[in-house]
Symmetry: C2
Subunit: 212 residues, 2 copies
Amino acid sequence: MTGLRQAQKERTRQALLDAALRLLEHQSLSTLGIREVTREVGMAPAAFYRHFGDIEELGVALVEQSFESLRFAFDDLGVAQADSDLLMRQAVDVLAGHVRRHAAHFRFLARERYGGLAVVRRAIHEQLRWFADRLSGELAARPGMERWDPGDVRMLAELIVNHLISAATAILEAEQDPPSEQRAVYTAYLQLRLISVGRSHWTDQPQSDRSL
Amino acid sequence: MTGLRQAQKERTRQALLDAALRLLEHQSLSTLGIREVTREVGMAPAAFYRHFGDIEELGVALVEQSFESLRFAFDDLGVAQADSDLLMRQAVDVLAGHVRRHAAHFRFLARERYGGLAVVRRAIHEQLRWFADRLSGELAARPGMERWDPGDVRMLAELIVNHLISAATAILEAEQDPPSEQRAVYTAYLQLRLISVGRSHWTDQPQSDRSL
DNA sequence: TGTACATCAGTGAACGCGCGTTCACTGATGTAC
DNA sequence: TGTACATCAGTGAACGCGCGTTCACTGATGTAC
């Protein structure tokens, strides 16, 4: 019976990733040590090299795991949903729930998005572009968007993704304090709604002065 | 004649800050070493302690210097400007110019905003709140905003500040490639305009379905 | 099923290295008279 | 203006420490027959 050894190896690898994520709650990847991670798991430092070449490699694996569940979460959104207000509430709620359940993953991504390790930064960037691409496609297919310039659709998709990132970090910062967390969620919803209002009145040319 | 010694000390302190900023181009503050900074300046490691207690303290000083010029830059914006489209163009241009001239400062702030050092994170957060407060006040005073709920004004101000941060980092990432940098600036302008359109059609209650 | 050999995840000791921090010092600048 | 003493920014040597990485190893798992 083969695979027993392989299964054990996989479990150890996951233990290393989990330990790293735990340690990354209060520090960034570039200060995380090989000895530190193996100590947290309870194994010899040299064993680390059976799973990763260095800490950067572990970091990239952690990026992938962090995004994995997020991708599925947004599949549940009824994007075909006709009512836009309900959809936005749901989007913000899905995000908030995910931030709560996977706080450590989000904290890691926020920290490393502009962190010191270029490879990890690039991996995160790539995943975010994937989200913007997908959202772009879904927006373009919605009624009322047929005549939009593709560049403008992309612009809108990026605005929304950036907003969701800001919202996620705001919710993260309010952690351990339910009332201010609820406030962050509600603000995020209002802001998404304001973007949607802008979208529904969008014109290619600057509007005549409405005095902002 | 007193002050000669003090002036020299100030110059050394600034040299340490400049050297740190240079080194932070490709790493984060938490991996920056005292020996590394003093080596870059060309002085003995022990001299560091005449100016800062530790690297964190240097980091906080760097946050202050990074925001200092930015505060002045936005004073130049003719906020009393009646035409909103021109104002938005100007805001994005001021930001883009500043990002270009002070790229290292922005990179540092982006990296440390969610970085590993809590004290530095808090210092940045504080400065950003100051910007949101100020923008909130200026928005509330504009024509057409008199009847807005103060909470909604604050919500809008935070949305704009977050958008400007996203825009700044997008411009930063496009550095060294003028065409994609110009694209980033233009996208930032369109997005700000979309937010403004949303603002001018904002209502307290969810709009009836317009199908996003 | 049993045996003999191969694989390989994890061990534990060892290494050289650069780190942060301390300390007594030096010599230019500042002050009192 | 000149002299004697005080201050203090910067020096250079020394320290103990934890780091990443290497290496020969062990023993459980896997494979061939």
